[in-house]
């Protein structure tokens, strides 16, 4: 066993930390606590800054335009990035984070060459079209119909909760190409240009009062068959592979620990009965308890990293990172807003009050989404019970 980093790894950590310290623009720093979104233009600018540095895809091999980092370097990089207060790249979450690995695994060479370079450069923004009004956690019930017609599919139906669809150029989606068999069969995985005629996009306002996602309507939309990923009817298998990427990559452990540091700063600044709040024994203990839980999650990431380095890939047991990480993040946001006292009831008073108040209230509201998207906590617990603990299904 070894938990200390080598001097080379420590040097790398310093380099990454310093780069983010110098290069994160002040207008985007500390803006995405609790998973809140950044406005589109500064997000694209930030994406391009990282792209120019060669760091937009640390997990990719160099031949595909990634940074070619080792597993440990990736962990250090992701930790330092998310611990720097720099915003998460929503522009890469579904494209480089989910679609690109899937194309590398199942896509044609043409698809890889056509789509991946523009994802890296931030030239093409992607969104994910999985959920439908009646297919949420029960994703396989999706109905959006794709009917074969010559060299095209013709699409009719609706997607919902499509993040960033109003800013995206392309959508990757699950469509129903056959409804005769079991509902998991007859689903196909399709790449669709959002400028195609027949597409209507309607943003949905969230509890945060902005619209991070949309409804997307398809009315006789023609999509060339060359945009099919894998074979017709393989969509469910591909979606499974892709969601696994989502569960593993989606959790920014460094951001969670950064949020803990933020609570500490806020509790040192905010006063209670003549003393800094951090000196209140009750508050102090709550913070320590959160730190202890964050540590246990951090060490679990390190343990999985260590398993990866000896070649044993984490299986469904990694589900618990998502469920625990998201619930812990909510508890962290609960304590952060508690640290604000009466200011915790504030909403968008950016001129009158400190940014830390806005981040606390926005982060608290936004954190409610963490246990819902990407497989809700309930779905994750069922996965753990049936796939990891092998409890009977029937």
């Amino acid at each position: 066993m070894k938990v200390s980093y080598s001097s080379d790894e420590e040097k790398f950590r310093e380099e990454v930390r310093e780069w983010f310290r110098v290069n994160t623009p002040p207008e985007v720093k500390d803006q995405t606590l609790g998973g809140s979104s950044l406005n589109h233009d500064p997000m694209i600018k930030w994406h391009k800054t990282l792209y120019e540095k060669g760091w937009v895809a640390p997990e990719f091999p160099k031949e595909f335009g990634g940074a070619g980092f080792s597993d440990t370097e990736q962990f250090i990089f992701n930790y330092e990035y998310s611990h720097s207060g720099a915003p998460r790249l929503k522009t890469k979450l579904v494209s480089l984070g989910m679609l690109a690995p899937l194309l590398l695994q199942f896509g044609t060479k043409e698809q890889q060459e056509r789509f991946i370079p523009d994802m890296l450069a931030g030239k093409t923004i992607w969104c994910q079209g999985f959920s439908e009004p009646n297919a949420g956690s029960d994703l396989a019930s999706l109905k959006l119909k794709a009917v074969s017609d010559g060299d095209d599919f013709v699409l009719n139906g609706q997607k919902t909760w499509t993040s960033m669809a109003d800013h995206a150029d392309w959508v990757f989606m699950l469509v129903r190409t056959d409804s005769s068999g079991r509902k998991q069969q007859g689903i196909s995985f399709l790449l669709v240009d959002l400028t195609s005629p027949g597409i209507t996009i309607r943003p949905i306002e969230a509890l945060t009062d902005y619209a991070p996602f949309c409804e997307v309507f398809f009315d006789d939309v023609r999509v060339p068959k060359e945009n099919l990923v894998g074979k017709e009817g393989e969509g469910w298998k591909l979606a499974g592979a892709l969601l696994q990427h989502e569960r593993l990559n989606a959790f920014p452990i460094g951001e969670l620990i950064y949020s803990i540091d933020t609570i500490r700063k806020n509790a040192e600044k905010n006063r209670y009965r003549g003393k800094p709040l951090i000196e209140d024994p009750g508050f102090r203990k709550k913070l320590a308890a959160l730190e202890v839980d964050c540590n246990s999650l951090l060490y679990t990431f390190l343990r999985i990293l260590s398993q990866l380095s000896v070649g044993s890939a984490p299986g469904p047991e990694a589900s618990f990172l998502k469920v625990y990480g998201s619930e812990l993040y909510q508890r962290v946001m609960d304590l952060n807003i508690e640290a604000m006292g009466p200011c915790g009831q504030s909403w968008y008073n950016l001129e009158a009050l400190d940014n830390s108040v806005h981040q606390a209230t926005m982060g608290w509201v936004n954190s409610r989404s963490l246990t819902i998207w990407g497989g809700s906590s309930e779905i994750q617990r069922t996965i753990i019970a049936t796939q990891v603990l092998k409890l009977p299904r029937k």
């Binding site: 962990f75 102090r284 203990k285 202890v292 679990t300 618990f320 753990i384």
Partner: protein, 378 residues
């Protein structure tokens, strides 16, 4: 970054698992539960023959000189079977205090006897009104010529009933809660002025109250140096705590396994109760808490071997985590067993009681959260 065990670790794990399986059972535990001592001397002797007493002690004292990873795998296996033999108190507390603080002659005299299984030794450091604080020490040691006279009272001395020797914290200067001014003395069972009252703990193991009335101890029975006791105790408590955490993780694993098995077999309303989502989700939470605890403990154990700067903090973090997780897991397990869970006829209840004792032993979650905050500057 490497959390993997070596083949030597795995081989100890295997022999410990086999010992727990062959020489131990829950029925044995039921019998020992009613025994004042709570463990068997034959089993202890066998464990000594396997070389386990000297696991981490250097070879010059008869030990094997192995790293703390071996302590972790051994105790995880003990924890799975709730093996009640007093390894932690004797090896990680009593003997370890001699190793960490003792003079060379003390180490040469005492440690080989511990390794052979012939000498039982534990530590007496808790007092009324001190809660878990190791620096709270009203027991006094006053110099009288070449000797010291010790008076005071120690509570919940772990496995004290069978101890031949006690390492006792005493105050040689300062006031009751000072960290400085604490001296460690070794006192023999049955010495003049030592009154021992046996106690049982909820998990069926033993402890004792030790009342010391003008017990005379020569200067040569000071462990290490005068007034240097607390740093030694503190370091040793850290190691014992990390070891206990490893045992707790083993217990969490076994409690989970036994429960999953029950949920799979127990049929109600015509189907196994493990098909129902409420039990499924409770079991998933047990799994999550067990995994997180295990990661914290692996990190803490590695931090001992690597002497990292955050070692004490990592250990308090692990104990705070395990203290709450083990009890939470055991409570859920008992609940899922229904009526059987409340019966001594099922094994699961023994995990609940061990979890409660282990939660409290060496400081509960609140104690370690407070210590964690202090070590991290708030």
């Amino acid at each position: 970054m490497d959390f993997e065990l070596t083949s030597e670790h795995l081989s100890l794990k295997e022999s410990a698992a086999s010992f727990v399986k062959k020489d131990h059972s829950f029925d044995r535990l039921r019998d020992l539960y009613k025994d004042p001592l709570g463990y068997s001397k034959e089993a202890w002797k066998k464990m000594a023959e396997l070389g386990w007493m000297g696991l981490i002690y250097p070879e010059e004292y008869g030990g094997l000189g192995l790293d703390f990873g071996f302590v972790m795998v051994l105790l995880e296996e003990f924890g799975k079977g709730l093996l009640p033999e007093p390894w932690i108190s004797n090896i990680l507390l009593g003997g370890n205090l001699i190793l960490a603080g003792g003079t060379e002659p003390q180490k040469q005299e005492i440690l080989p006897e511990i390794v052979s299984g012939d000498l039982m030794i534990t530590a007496a450091y808790l007092e009324d009104d001190g809660r878990y604080d190791t620096n709270f020490c009203a027991t006094s040691a006053k110099r009288q010529g070449d000797a010291f006279t010790i008076s005071g009272k120690k509570i919940f001395v772990l496995d004290g009933l069978s101890a031949d020797r006690f390492i006792v914290t005493t105050r040689t200067s300062g006031s009751v809660a000072d960290t400085d001014g604490i001296t460690l003395f070794m006192i023999s069972q049955g010495a003049d002025g030592v009154k021992m009252t046996p106690l049982k703990t909820m998990d069926g193991r033993n402890a004792c109250t030790l009342e010391l009335a003008d017990v005379s101890a020569p200067e040569t029975d000071i462990i290490g140096e005068l007034e240097q006791g607390h740093p030694v105790l503190s370091g040793v408590m850290d190691q014992a705590t990390a070891g206990l955490c490893a045992e707790m993780v083993g217990g969490m694993q076994a409690a989970l396994d036994i429960t999953v098995n029950y949920l799979t077999e127990r049929v109600q309303f015509g189907k196994p109760i493990g098909t129902l989502q409420t039990p499924q989700h409770k079991a998933a939470d047990m799994f999550i808490q067990k995994e997180l605890s295990a990661s914290s403990v692996y990190y803490a154990i590695a931090s001992i071997d690597e002497k990292t700067v955050d070692m004490a903090s990592a250990i308090s973090s692990a104990k705070a985590k395990c203290s709450s997780a083990y009890v939470q897991i055991a409570k859920a397990a008992v609940q899922l067993f229904g009526g059987m869970g409340f019966s001594n006829e099922a094994d699961i209840g023994y995990f609940l009681k061990r979890a409660k004792v282990a939660e409290i032993l060496f400081g509960d979650a609140d104690y370690h959260l407070d210590r964690y905050a202090r070590l991290n500057g708030y």
